[in-house]
């Protein structure tokens, strides 16, 4: 549905987007993840046809963004970082206006406006002036605008920006439900958001595409080893040597607790070997007290930090 090839964008001497290539299939939700000023917004703006690229091509539904901009714009709903609202208009008039310029058939405008308003639950403010709305409502009116005329492609730049926690959950649900018949690209710097809403994640840093994969795969790939954390009551040196004698264990780190007999052990094991059961049996058989045992998985946050701060090590 969306094909981006070798996209480059310069702002003067600054390279905001540096050779990004990716494709998004129909019905997929792709999350752009990256720190601020990483090039997420620029990439999205190029896809929407708001600004031309310095080099590279973008195709949406088979149409080139630069050559056939109008055809592409008909198929994209776009929510910019700051919702594009006219403060002096009422919500209903604003949505009607945007519906008209997006080419909604005059006879179905009212129904279409009501549909998107219901979807984003902004019905109760339809007759209010936009300047009087709270940040959360403004954001949702902006989102409603993007859904007008039911475009097959949605580009959402930080859609949950400025919402309260309950609204964030609502909006995420909406995005997930859109995924079935829309192609969605959304950007965020909130990490749990991508793992919750997206099928795939593209991590962008300093204009480069660092990694693109499903959230689960990213987590898998990045774990060089599996680590297990144990808290055991017993003689520290004895336990340490016993643990490290196990076949699959590569390293053991000890962190003594305040109580002299209890310590926390971080055991690194070869990848794919689940030795939690064996370790538990070992400890119990020796008569030590097993207080805690858990395997540690990398959160998306850890992956993100690794990818954006220590790229060389990862690749």
């Amino acid at each position: 549905m969306i094909e981006v090839h070798n996209l480059v964008k310069h702002y003067g001497s600054v390279k905001a987007v540096d050779d990004i290539s990716l494709t998004v299939d129909k019905g997929e939700i792709l999350g752009f993840l990256g720190p601020n000023a990483a090039g997420k917004t620029t990439t999205m703006r190029i896809i929407t046809g708001y600004m031309p690229a310095s080099a590279g091509t973008v195709k949406v539904a088979g149409f080139d963004v630069f050559e056939q901009g109008l055809e592409v714009k008909k198929r994209i709903g776009y929510l910019p970082e700051n919702p594009p609202l006219y403060p002096d208009m009422r919500v209903r008039d604003y949505l009607k206006f945007t519906a008209r310029i997006k080419g909604v058939h005059p006879k179905t405008i009212n129904a279409e406006v009501d549909r998107v308003a219901a979807r984003l639950s902004v019905i109760e403010v339809m007759d209010n002036h936009i300047s009087k709305l709270s940040k959360g409502y403004k954001q949702r009116v902006g989102f409603a605008q993007a859904l007008l005329n039911n475009p097959p492609v949605l580009i959402l730049d930080e859609p949950t920006n400025g919402l309260d926690p309950r609204q964030i959950i609502e909006v995420r649900e909406i995005i997930k439900s859109l995924g079935s018949d829309h192609t969605v690209i959304l950007s965020t710097h909130i990490l749990p958001e991508v793992s919750m809403t997206c099928n795939r994640v593209a991590i962008i840093n300093e204009g480069k595409l660092v990694k693109i994969d499903t959230p689960d795969n990213l987590t898998m790939q990045l774990q060089g080893s599996e680590s297990i954390i144990l808290q055991i009551e017993g003689p520290v040196t004895e336990i340490e040597s016993a643990l490290s004698q196990h076949n699959s264990v590569t390293a053991v780190a000890v962190q003594p607790n305040s109580k002299d007999n209890i310590a926390t052990y971080k055991v690194e094991a070869a990848i794919g070997s689940d030795i939690r059961k064996e370790l538990a049996a070992l400890v119990v058989n020796r008569g030590w007290g097993l207080l805690e045992l858990k395997s540690e998985t990398l959160s998306l946050e850890d992956i993100f930090l690794r990818l954006t701060t220590k790229e060389e090590e990862v690749n």
Binding site: Y11, R45, T48, G49, Y50, M51, P52, L70, K73, K74, I76, Y78, P80, N82, P83, P84, L85, Y86, P87, D88, M89, D93, F97, T98, R100, I101, K102, G103, Q145
Partner: protein
């Protein structure tokens, strides 16, 4: 065409749903009204004096009253235009709605012309309200209608150019104050460049006088319709609209 009309309608509503239209029209009517009153009272004094001297030469209201009135109006317009054009593109850029327009299936020309015609409509209403003053002259006098209509045509053509200039300058910045001051500077330049024509030697003098927007209006105020002035106004308008297009297009590359 439908899209152009949507932009036009929204902008026009924007003018009239905010205080801008009313403040500007009110201000314009007060200032032109004062000039109208002053010109009328001095005209009445003059015709009274003529009557006392028992001279039977009829005094010409078109020449003595209406023509100076329109010449005054042509200068007042220069001060009012920046107030109505300053927000056309600047506000859209500032509030981010330009991003909405440019990512909607609209062409640049639909956006530019829709906005341009909306501003011109406001200007048209503002200017034509002064026709009420003329009604008084028709009730108690016998002015010629032809010269009045041609004077209005001239004022409207002047507006056509100045609004295009204002819209262009507004498209360069997202700051309304900068847009207003810039447009004010430009309209003043188009006015005073005619004065410079008297001192600038033969070739440049002619050129400066030709560029002066108010000089071209003088014939209209006499009730003379000369197509060379029409060419001047229309070509300057097209150039300014073309510049606006380029400005919108290049802001895409820069932003």
């Amino acid at each position: 065409m439908g899209n152009l009309f949507q932009i036009y309608k929204r902008d026009l509503k924007g003018y009239f749903s905010s205080p801008i239209a009313y403040v500007v029209i009110g201000l314009f009517l007060i200032v032109t009204g004062i000039f109208f009153y002053l010109l009328l009272s001095s005209f009445l004094q003059y015709s009274y004096a003529m009557m006392m001297q028992r001279q039977n030469i009829p005094v010409n209201v078109n020449l003595m009253m209406i023509r100076p009135f329109f010449l005054n109006m042509s200068v007042i317009v220069l001060f009012v235009i920046p107030m109505i054009t300053m927000r056309s593109f600047s506000e859209e850029k500032k509030s981010g709605t330009m991003e909405l327009l440019l990512t909607s299936p609209l062409t640049n020309w639909q956006i530019i012309l829709g906005k341009y015609l909306a501003t011109f409509t406001l200007y048209f209403v503002m200017v034509m309200v002064t026709f009420l003053f003329m009604v008084f002259l028709f009730i108690w006098g016998k002015p010629g209608l032809g010269p009045i209509l041609i004077s209005y045509l001239g004022i409207l053509l002047m507006g056509l150019v100045l609004i295009a200039v204002g819209n262009f300058i507004s498209s360069l910045t997202e700051n309304q104050i900068v847009a207003a001051v810039g447009t004010f500077g430009a309209t003043m330049l188009l006015w005073v460049i005619g004065f410079a024509g008297d001192f600038a030697g033969k070739v440049f003098g002619e050129l400066f006088k030709y560029l002066s927007i108010v000089n071209h209006f003088e014939d209209f105020s006499k009730g003379v319709f000369d197509t060379s002035h029409l060419v001047y106004y229309l070509s300057l308008t097209f150039i300014m609209l073309f510049f606006t297009y380029q400005s919108i297009e290049s802001s895409k590359w820069r932003s």
